[in-house]
């Protein structure tokens, strides 16, 4: 193995240039206040202090809440689907997983726009409801619209890791559980679910990470006043031009994600 050690070196250089330096820049921006030019640096914690204002805190809380709800719904739906898929014979499973991933081949923006024409007041769903005599239901620019957009986009990220750990599972464990007198419910929770926990945790991390940092979906389906952390950061960089505050927000978000991953990993090792 040590003969390959030198092969790692280019990767270290790559990591330094593409990951370490940008993060360092972000840190630098977050603790200075001189705007985009870093010529005359002044250090300050003003940006982090601003973040503790109730307006911004409530944005964070809303984002985390929405992220958690998305994770829970994705977990329930994704687990069921992954479980069903894993019950088919192997060749069929390949096709079904392919079907799950096909929507991901289409650009996310396009899929989100499709939801707009489905959900809007004069959209397809409301036209259908109208035919049935049910009054138009306001769906666009609500929590519902944002949630459904997020769940649809992120569901595959939950299904695939869960399916991977389910399909790798040794079926004889299940048989053994039955032989020892466990009923199907007991078998599922005590054997199948426990063995799939690594996949579940991976799925949770992926979906949470994606949903907490998204900004396109809430912007299009929730409107510009539907501000989550991602939107707040985007607007600081793109339209407001306050890169320092934007960087501080990004650092806080990165901290939250790091913490979430650490916590999940802890559960993972605790389980084993």
């Amino acid at each position: 193995m040590r003969y390959f050690k030198n092969l790692v070196k280019p990767y270290i250089a790559w990591t330094a240039v593409m990951i370490v330096i940008p993060i360092f820049m972000m840190l630098l921006y977050s603790i200075t206040n001189s705007g985009n030019s870093l010529v005359n640096i002044q250090f300050t914690f003003e940006n982090f202090k601003r973040f503790t204002e109730p307006v911004y805190l409530s944005v964070f809380i809303k984002s985390i809440k929405l992220g958690l709800i998305t994770v829970v719904i994705c977990l329930v739906l994704g687990y069921a689907l992954a479980y069903i898929i894993s019950q088919f014979k192997e060749s069929t499973q390949g096709v079904l997983i392919l079907l799950v991933t096909i929507p991901m081949w289409i650009n996310m923006l396009l899929r989100t726009y499709a939801w707009i024409s489905l959900l809007s007041d004069n959209g397809i769903i409301n036209a259908f409801l109208d035919k049935l005599g049910i009054g138009p239901i306001k769906m666009m620019y609500t929590d519902f619209a944002v949630m459904i957009g997020q769940i649809c986009d992120f569901l595959p990220f939950m299904i695939i890791p869960i399916h991977t750990s389910l399909s790798k599972m040794d079926k004889s464990y299940v048989e053994a559980a039955y032989d020892l007198g466990a009923n199907p419910v007991q078998t599922f929770f005590k054997v199948v679910f426990k063995l799939s926990i690594p996949g579940v945790l991976n799925g949770i991390i992926m979906v949470f990470l994606l949903s907490i940092s998204t900004f396109v979906i809430p912007k299009l389906l929730g409107g510009g006043q539907y501000v989550l952390i991602g939107n707040l950061i985007e607007s600081q960089f793109v339209s407001v031009g306050d890169w320092n505050f934007g960087s501080a927000l990004s650092i806080v978000l990165a901290g939250i994600i790091l913490f979430a991953i650490k916590w999940m990993k802890k559960i993972d090792t605790g389980e084993n």
Binding site: N36, S58, Y141, G224, Q225, S239, V240, G241
Partner: protein, 346 residues
């Protein structure tokens, strides 16, 4: 023998083509979204044997951020106040008007405006106003008498689109309160901020960008804040829609073509401006996007023909309370930006 000959001809032809490809110059154009008839770009490419790289932005502010981050363009089409800012900060080069053959036909009112008093840096591209587009089947005429205050009318709760732009939203609040839209007074800005927060609480408006066009064509909302040109386009697609400029005054604007200082194809850039101001091209462009053309004969003709029924094509020109945006000093800008972030996040 014949085969070899034709093969040789093919190779030669390919070589010539490749050679041409290498010589072709490239013009980088940066414009607002949904703001050009794209067939004009290919016409321009054919006429001048060049490539046009066309990119779009969704607001002047995001355009500015991109330029600041070092992205290079030859031509940009920003609004008046942003032209002033870019010029003040030294991003623009002077335009040689002798190279713009149709310069004389440009409407006088649109020239020598304070943002570019000597017409050094910009040539008008489109102009217009900001107003309320409303669905005449849903909004009653007498409510309109409230002017901008109609945007706080409980009757239209969750039925209003605002425009997702800092300056335009503050403009509405400032005008509704009777202040100048270029105010530097923090107390006035605070009041405008409160106006917007109050509106949010009463009617829960939705802040959107360019998607307002498609959404209003399908009649999703009763009211929307739009630019006059977008209004004209929407009205030509959906005859129920009307355009209204409140009497408290509104924002008049001129978007102009500017040449960036670091442009390497100054000649081609001038040709582009010349091309866009030629009557036949200005006609195609204005008819397609619905914005009012600065080229006088084109404007006069479209006003009488294609857009004769559509009042939004002719923005109000002599309202004494209407104003152009001006350059904001850094402090006011920062203050507004912070308030605006809070308005949206609230």
């Amino acid at each position: 023998m014949k085969k070899i000959f034709s093969f040789a001809v093919c190779i030669l032809a390919a070589a010539v083509l490749v050679g041409c490809g290498g010589e072709k110059t490239t013009l980088k154009v940066y414009n607002a979204g949904e703001y050009i008839d794209t067939t004009l770009l290919s016409d321009f490419e054919n006429e001048n044997n060049c490539n046009v790289v066309y990119e779009t932005f969704d607001s002047n502010e995001s355009m500015y951020t991109k330029v600041m981050s070092g992205e290079k363009y030859d031509i940009i089409i920003p609004s008046d106040y942003m032209i002033e800012r870019l010029a003040k900060e030294g991003f623009l080069q002077e335009i040689d008007k002798n190279k713009i053959s149709n310069y004389g036909e440009i409407t006088d009112n649109l020239l020598s405006q304070p943002f570019d008093a000597e017409n050094k840096y910009s040539v008008p591209y489109f102009w217009g106003s900001v107003g309320i587009l409303y669905d005449s089947t849903k909004v009653s005429e007498e409510d309109l008498e409230d002017g901008w205050e109609i945007l706080k009318n409980l009757k239209y709760k969750e039925d209003i689109y605002m425009y997702d732009s800092e300056r335009d939203s503050f403009m509405i609040a400032l005008k509704a309160l009777g202040f100048s839209l270029n105010t530097h007074d923090k107390a006035e800005l605070d009041k405008a901020y409160e106006w917007l927060i109050e509106q949010k609480e009463i009617v829960n408006p939705i802040y959107v960008g360019d998607e307002v066009i498609d959404s209003m064509i399908s009649g999703n909302m009763a009211m929307a804040i739009v630019y006059s040109g977008d209004a004209a386009y929407i009205m030509s697609e959906n005859p129920d829609m009307r355009y209204f400029e409140p009497s408290q005054g509104t924002n008049l604007w001129i978007d102009g073509m500017v040449i960036m200082k670091d442009s390497e194809n100054t000649d081609l850039a001038h040709k582009f401006i010349d091309f866009m101001t030629r009557p036949e091209n200005a006609m195609v462009n204005s008819e397609m996007v619905g914005y009012s053309s600065p080229v006088k004969p084109v404007f006069e003709e479209l006003k009488e023909t294609v857009y004769s029924e559509i009042e939004a094509y002719v923005p109000r020109q002599n309202g004494d309370k209407d104003e152009f945006f001006r350059y904001q000093d850094a402090e006011t800008k920062k203050y507004c930006a912070e308030l605006w972030t809070k308005v949206k996040a609230q």
